[in-house]
């Protein structure tokens, strides 16, 4: 268990670093966030200065330490202040509406892409030099395309030219309203297909290439040759002998690459005007909505940290060596 305890401690440190950076960035940056908002809205009265200060949390009375502790307290209660653009709504309300969209779309698509890429990687590594393996350079081209640009191309072909899919939005606002009924779910599914396809197609090559490389080195190991010499079926050798061990570096890579995938997916949402965190982030950037930007940064960071923790749990499940190290030898 000590492996998990150590990892948990590490994630706590990482979370604390993110929180602290989030606290200090507005205070350390040249230029004043309050003034830049005042510049943005010239019809604001000078008396609004204090109000904006209070809203951003920079004008807190007391020492820096006092500000810091009250900030941590706010975050712990999901109190991120009031939103600038959607004025009466609080930041956490706005976030709460956007998170499910991103979580379902990006989460599902990433898992599908990881499983698909790993499976294809196993095949490509096993049949080294075969059809799948030779198609890799083409897939690398897909991988090098920025997510959002690939999204642009897909929208142009499938939504604008062929009319197979809707152009934008998360659901059809004219025919349905959000809720747990079939009409809405069907509409949401239809709208999520193209974004999901974008994520899968652009990220699958990365997983595949990594898995292929690990597979090739694993297949060269003596124990795999021994398994073949015993006359085990190919199927058994691939999955229970080679792939199982090749999967461990792949899983570790999954945790680290998650930040990239999520970041790419966020920018992609902008192309589709998908009502998730990414679009929210764009709106926050264009309207200088600093409280929202900061809250989004925290939400994304924490999501990635939690996902990494889950990956660590899976690794413990898969790798007896990690468990053995934990019980203390």
């Amino acid at each position: 268990m000590s492996f998990l305890v150590r990892r948990l401690a590490f994630y706590l440190v990482a979370a604390w670093v993110a929180l602290t950076a989030n606290f200090f960035i507005p205070r350390a940056m040249p230029g004043n966030a309050v003034e830049s908002i005042m510049d943005k809205f010239p019809n604001l009265q000078p008396s609004a200065y204090k109000a904006i200060e209070a809203m951003l949390g920079v004008g807190h009375p007391g020492s820096l330490w006092h500000q810091y502790t009250s900030y941590l307290d706010d975050v712990a209660h999901f109190n991120f202040g009031t939103d600038v653009t959607n004025y009466p709504a609080s930041v956490s309300q706005v976030l709460g509406e956007a998170i499910p969209w991103t979580l379902i779309l990006v989460g599902t698509a990433t898992v599908i892409s990881f499983l698909l890429g790993t499976g294809l990687g196993i095949m490509a590594g096993w049949r080294h030099g075969g059809f799948l393996d030779r198609s890799l350079p083409g897939l690398m081209f897909l991988q090098a395309i920025p997510y959002f640009f690939f999204a642009l191309v897909l929208v142009y072909i499938f939504a604008i030219k062929l009319h197979w899919f809707p152009i934008a939005q998360g659901y059809d606002g004219e025919t349905t309203t959000p809720g747990w009924h079939w009409n809405f779910i069907a509409s949401a599914l239809q709208h999520s297909l193209l974004p999901a396809l974008t994520i899968v197609l652009t990220s699958v090559a990365g997983w595949m290439l990594q898995m292929r490389n690990v597979m090739i080195t694993t297949i060269g190991e003596d124990y795999v040759v021994a398994a073949q010499a015993k006359g085990l079926s190919n199927h058994r050798v691939i999955f229970t002998y080679a792939a199982r061990n090749a999967l461990l570096p792949q899983l570790q890579g999954f945790g680290l690459a998650l930040g990239f995938v999520v970041s790419g997916a966020l920018v992609m949402e902008i192309v589709f005007s998908y009502p998730g965190i990414g679009l929210l982030l764009l709106n926050a950037v264009t309207s200088n909505d600093y409280p929202l930007m900061q809250a989004i940064f925290l939400v994304i960071t924490f999501a990635v940290l939690i996902a990494n923790l889950v990956v660590d749990l899976v690794i413990v499940l898969f790798d007896p060596r990690v468990r053995a190290r934990g019980t203390g030898r």
Binding site: V17, P146, F148, N213, T217, I270, V271, F297
Partner: protein, 336 residues
């Protein structure tokens, strides 16, 4: 120059393709702005020249305000590449510094530096970049380069630390330490030359990250929008509703340029990987041995069984004949 040509011959095919492709773009970055026929921001006043599809005069068509897309592209490649290479150089220097210090000093230094590296690895870079650049009052080149480099060194540092740890324990390092060489000399002249390929790979990776991140940041408007880079062209295309209008010549070329630069870097890197570990090299695939496809991962085929494999019908009749008593295989044969 003979070592150069022999080095080139050693390179795997993928690396060669990548190097040529990248070379083309570097050439475009150097001479592009000089050969562009129009200033990238020049707005042609004639309304008939707005949103023109590609023609002989405007090879890649024009934008909504009559700007020449090809000229924008030729100018934009320079800015994007310069920024990416600068970020790559600074971030790689940082990762060498952190990785080597951490591995060489060991102890508490190692613990602290590794912890910092790992924290940077796990915190997603793009949202933090957006937050930092969002707070900056002017979003020019220099702040962008500093911020991108400050958040792009961690992958390299991790790899270089691991490699330094293994090299540090080799005999020749112990020997040079015994002979009284200074620590900085050991690091610079004994360890560094052994890690050149690793440092090159991490440089290529960082350039790749910088291109992706800078283009994405410009696309959402977090860049100097008066300058011309591949990202800002895409930003203006998106702002001008190029997609909805169907002006494919406006948003396709910059995106394809980004993708091709990215592909060339990925190809270079996999090529470097293959140079380091020959097993990863593309093999010739399956071979045909006695009419059977045999893969490198298959057990060695036993030829005797394969050669004499008769057809099923023949084997059926053969099993009734007297000569069948001489062979010990069953009727039909398993390989039949």
């Amino acid at each position: 120059m003979s070592w150069l040509s022999s080095f080139w011959r050693q390179l795997p095919m993928r690396a060669k393709v990548g190097a040529v492709l990248l070379g083309i773009f570097i050439l475009a970055a150097i001479i592009g702005p000089l050969v562009a026929s129009y200033a990238p921001g020049y707005q042609n006043p004639s309304p008939s020249l707005s949103l023109k599809p590609p023609s002989a005069q405007y090879l890649l068509g024009t934008t909504q305000t009559g700007q020449d897309v090809l000229s924008q592209l030729l100018t934009g490649i320079r800015l994007t590449l310069v920024l990416a290479f600068l970020v790559g150089a600074i971030a790689t220097a940082l990762s060498v510094l952190v990785g080597m210090t951490s591995a060489f000093l060991g102890g508490v230094w190692d613990e602290v530096l590794s912890l910092i590296t790992n924290v940077f690895l796990v915190i997603p870079a793009l949202p933090l970049l957006i937050l930092l650049l969002g707070y900056l009052p002017n979003r020019g080149q220099t702040p962008t380069i500093i911020v991108l480099a400050g958040l792009g060194w961690q992958w390299g540092a991790r790899v270089i630390r691991a490699q330094t740890l293994t090299i540090r324990n080799r005999d020749f390092i112990a020997a040079s330490r015994e002979s009284g060489e200074k620590t900085w000399r050991i690091i610079l002249f004994e360890i560094m030359p052994n890690e050149v390929s690793l440092i090159a790979a991490s440089f290529v990776n960082t350039v790749l990250y910088a291109i992706g991140a800078s283009v994405a940041l410009a696309f959402i408007g977090l860049a100097d929008l008066n300058s011309w880079s591949l990202g800002t062209i895409l930003y203006w295309a998106q702002a001008g509703q190029a997609l909805q209008i169907g002006a494919w010549w406006w948003f396709l070329p910059p995106g394809i340029a980004v993708a091709l630069i990215g592909t060339s870097l990925v190809l270079l890197n996999t090529g470097f990987d293959e140079l380091g570990s020959p097993r990863l090299r593309a093999s010739r695939g399956s071979a045909r041995i006695a009419g059977h496809r045999v893969w490198a991962t298959d057990p060695t085929p036993v030829l005797q069984q394969l050669i004499g494999s008769p057809g099923r019908v023949y084997a059926f009749f053969h099993s009734f004949s007297r000569s069948s008593l001489l062979d010990n295989s069953t009727a039909g044969g398993e390989l039949g």
